[in-house]
Point group: C2
Chain length 295, copies 2
């Protein structure tokens, strides 16, 4: 195809993807190419190549990650708990079939075994095929074991206990909605070892105040410490994203292991968003977010 014809074609092919809050406002991306579009047993899955943000994984119409900004989410959901826990050997990731949370956890040499419980085998398959530059073959690491199951049912059955449990949950709509229920959080607690830590992504407090508030209340009824931290993620609705750090033994600020972080830095630990100052600062909340926690 000649270059002239190609650019003519690209001008004509004016294809857009939008993720809208209440159908009325949100991010719009001009699509360069649709790399995959199909339906698994559980959901619609699309992999797009969009201008400005690169490759993008979309589940049931919601952006799960984009090549350009995924580093923020995946660094913040992993390194905050991993630099607080003294020795995170056994880690469970619920959801996260794209492999990026694994990629970040693999930077922690204390981790001996990582279990990834993903309900949808197709998400893993598609991520391996289309997002290998992003997830960097993390599935193939010998420390990783993949369990194809619903996170809720897996925890009901397994005797395994973990130092860290990370809920890399999709939005609270099926099939991921069970991962925001009180019963799930109770199961999580029962599968934490002594001094274990649980972190969940908990949506945008700007758009999803009700979910945010309810999740905080549910977690607070189960864990002694529940602390909210925030990160900026431009491709997620509202762009201000929340996580909740839950533990009966650890304070995410007081127990941050700065010495270990510095040793890691000396050994080549590399992040684009997370650092020691961000670790602390991300727990400082704007007034409108703090107000959700007061009632």
């Amino acid at each position: 195809m000649s270059q002239d014809y190609k650019s003519h074609f690209e001008d004509l092919w004016d294809f857009w993807f939008r993720e809208l809050h209440n159908g009325k406002a949100g991010m719009a991306y001009r699509v360069k190419d649709v790399l995959y579009s199909g339906t698994s047993k559980f959901q619609k899955i699309d992999v797009l190549d969009v201008y400005e943000y690169g490759r993008m994984l979309v589940l049931y119409g919601s952006v799960m990650l984009t090549e350009r900004d995924e580093f923020v989410y995946h660094e913040m959901i992993t390194h905050i708990p991993a630099f607080v826990h003294e020795n995170p050997q056994d880690v469970l990731v619920v959801g996260g079939g794209d492999g990026c949370t694994l990629r970040e956890l693999l930077k922690h040499k204390e981790v001996k075994e990582m279990h990834l419980v993903e309900i949808d085998a197709k998400v893993i398959e598609i991520s391996k095929e289309y997002l290998s530059d992003i997830c960097q073959n993390s599935f193939d690491d010998p420390r990783v074991k993949i369990i194809l199951d619903d996170g809720f049912y897996y925890l009901q059955k397994t005797p395994n206990k973990y130092d860290l449990i990370i809920s890399d949950a999709p939005d609270p709509v099926p099939p991921g909605d069970t991962l925001f229920q009180k019963e799930f959080f109770q199961l999580v607690k029962e599968h934490l070892k002594d001094k274990g830590i649980f972190v969940s992504q908990t949506e945008s407090p700007f758009y999803h105040g009700d979910i945010f508030k309810k999740t905080y209340k549910n977690l607070s009824s189960i864990f002694k410490t529940v602390q909210v931290y925030l990160a900026w993620i431009p491709a997620y609705p509202g762009a201000l994203w929340s996580f909740m750090f839950c533990s009966d033994s650890h304070d995410p600020l007081g127990d941050f292991n700065k010495d270990k972080y510095k040793q890691y830095l000396d050994a080549g630990f590399n992040t684009k968003y997370y650092n020691d100052k961000i670790h602390i600062a991300s727990f400082s909340l704007p007034n409108f977010v703090e107000e959700f926690l007061e009632h």
Copy 2:
């Protein structure tokens, strides 16, 4: 008009406003109503009423503010310097014809005189007419004096000196582009009183790394202290917005007047984003932003 007819009409009137980075990715809003659309001597001005974000001021196609999220920008550009300076009596705001920066500054009782230098009288007129619920008649406060002029030329002529100068500049395109030039920053410095502080909005480091880097370099050649702080603003491109705090005498962290902040709180000072913890935390930068400052 009957309710049925009205909702039928609203469904048909599928009108969208988008602000796109490089024409390829950005926020999209379904428009409820176009309240004003016209052209001043300087620029195209639109006031929209959009779903989810409320009233919106758009200059030459760029969102200046939305009713739903403007509080973040206007609180962060004013309260950070105003709680660092011991006694900010004389304040200059360059740009900011929408009046929201004035609204926040008026919360500081030390402020005796505020000069607003706005190049475009039409922006003020339109803001008074369509955004009065947002700017809350701040133009009418007896402490406020409006000067219709280009900020650059005003500073070339005036003998006035200020405790705080705030550059509430639009994007660095005409007519606002002079407000990002080294010559402007030099003029600002000459018009600061002893122990004066200058703060400028400095675009998104995520989308506008080059402007961000160049502005930091220019400011650093003029002021002893230049410190970057960040805020999340969903309606601004990239959603992660930067400001630079500049001074020859003050450190924005060490000189933060926490006691004054607490006295203000006791007296009813009210913000939706800014607080004492955010004041400190907003100066903690992600690695990818810090890297821009190193070279």
